[in-house]
Amino acid sequence: MKNIELEKHANSIRKSIVTEVFYAQSGHPGGSLGAADIITSLYFEELDINDENLDSVDRDRFVLSKGHASPALYAAFAEKGWIEKEELKTFRHLGSRLQGHPSMRLLPGVDMSTGSLGQGISCAVGMALANKLDKNDHRIYTLCGDGECQEGQVWEAIMAAAHHKLDNLCIIIDNNNLQIDGKVEDVMSIYPLDEKMKAFNCHVIEIDGHDFDQIRAAFKEARETKGQPTVIIAKTVKGKGVSFMENQAGWHGVAPNEEQYHAAIKELEAC
């Protein structure tokens, strides 16, 4: 797909994210907006998921380990036509399929229920192991937060992935350097992330997580890497696309008010 088309989808996904969180008056805009380009690239280029195989496990799979970015996932589903755009407004409402954190039992296409940080990546390891047993060539992708990397479980998962030479697993770290209480390096440094991942026997690629050429090239390199899992460290801007939300820890889990909502949509429409 041409970059310009991907950009259009990403922009539409960003508008949906802001809309979801606004109508819910709750949720996580920052980490959703920042991940929008990666998620667009996954669903519109990389993953072999389509209308026909959405309900099947016989395809690539994506685990949103940073489950609080659910608005980005649901927005991508709407952009793919798997749910109605109107349904996005039910996000976080009683009875909705669009739970605060994704539930695989409620919404077709959600490959794992997540929300508790650190667990999704391990689930992705399990899926990659299953695919090895089944000798298929489906690929497993997972997106983790950089704050999430503070969980010991993330490192247990990486250790297991490398030990089992899971070259069918691609771990993307959304490296926006922010978590709830502040900057990752101030709260509890995870750095140097690249060297740590390499020491754990992973193939490491560093990219700009908003550059579609770089995202595409990284996925290709991951596919061609044999005998070890790939970790893509994607430098991102939390809140990307809505200027007043960009790089602000304060916009991690706060909904915009009416005025801010309109300002955000206006800014995204001008793109």
Binding site: A24, H93, L94, Q99, G100, H101, G115, Q179, D181, M188
Partner: protein, 306 residues
């Protein structure tokens, strides 16, 4: 009526405690603003440790601090404190009986929109099962503040369950919190509503929907439970209805059932709580109605069991 979340009381109590006692330290796991442990930073940032999103590690680090003579308060959401950190709490804190005070916020389904992954309805059960652990579930700001101060100097590991959402003040003026002692808020007949935490408010409101005056009791300390009071209630009422924002399995209802069964009480028991199901996203009030925790549901349980 004022509506304040019990976690606010936690922050305020911590501030006082840090000022009064240099032996007190605080740990959090990237939720210091939400749990209100960040209030401690205002007094002495050197005694507040943000351990990052690593709850298991935080619990054992707290144990190490306590094993070195400190009184360590460890906070995060109830789900991640008692869920992710369970085995560390059990083996690093419970087994050596250390002075770690796990004060967890956002417990129960009143977490609301975050949904089932964040709505901890198993924490009382988990913490109650650890030998030597004291378990306290305060119902309002006043009680929570006093409870936090009380457990600070109660020897050994303690768990305090705090809420995200605002709750009305229901403790009477001049109220004195006493660890392990249930509080009779209303003396009535036939039925005793035995509630804990946010369900104390719901139980009081349920009384208005009944055509008689039931007894209402606040059991803020789940462990050690006030056996004497429960046996007394069971012997003087036809029905006890336990009310908790927790699974009906392993929480207050179970604790009361154990006491009643062992004492051979003839009184009937009904349990209001989350009926062995996961919650979902929604507003706290809607969720209380959907999951049978609102005053009308309590009143219905009373009517159906009398």
């Amino acid at each position: 009526m004022a509506s304040i979340a019990t976690r606010i009381a936690y922050g305020d109590a911590l501030k006082e405690l840090l000022q009064e006692d240099e032996n007190i330290v605080v740990l959090d796991a990237d939720l210091a603003g939400s749990t209100k442990s960040a209030e401690a930073k205002k007094v002495d940032p050197a005694r507040h440790f943000d351990m990052g999103i690593a709850e298991g590690n935080m619990m054992s680090v707290a144990a190490g601090l306590a094993a070195s003579g400190k009184i360590a308060f460890a906070s995060t959401f109830a789900m991640f404190a008692t869920g992710r950190g369970f085995e560390q709490i059990r083996n690093s804190i419970g087994y050596p009986h250390l002075n770690v005070k796990v004060c967890a916020s956002h417990a129960g389904i009143s977490v609301g929109e975050d949904g089932a992954s964040h709505q901890c309805i198993e924490d009382i059960n988990l913490m109650r099962g650890i030998p030597g652990m004291t378990v306290v579930v305060p119902c309002d700001y006043n009680e929570a503040k006093q409870a936090v101060r009380a457990i600070a100097y109660h020897e050994g590991p303690c768990y305090v369950r705090l809420g995200r959402s605002g709750v009305e003040e229901v403790t009477p003026e001049g109220y004195q919190f006493e660890l392990g002692k249930g509080v009779v808020l209303k003396e009535g007949t036939k039925v005793a509503l035995v509630a804990t935490g946010s369900m104390v408010q719901e139980s009081l409101k349920a009384c208005e929907l009944l055509d008689f005056e039931p007894t209402v009791v606040n059991i803020h300390t789940i462990k050690p439970i006030d056996r004497e009071l429960i046996v007394e209630l069971a012997n003087s009422h036809d029905l006890i209805v336990t009310c908790e924002e927790h699974s009906i399995i392993g929480g207050l209802g179970s604790a009361v059932a154990e006491v009643m069964a062992e004492a051979g009480c003839p009184c009937k028991l009904a349990r209001v709580g989350v009926q062995d199901v996961f919650g979902e996203s929604g507003k706290p009030k809607e969720l209380f109605e959907t999951y049978g925790l609102d005053p009308q549901s309590i009143a219905n349980v009373v009517k159906n069991n009398l």
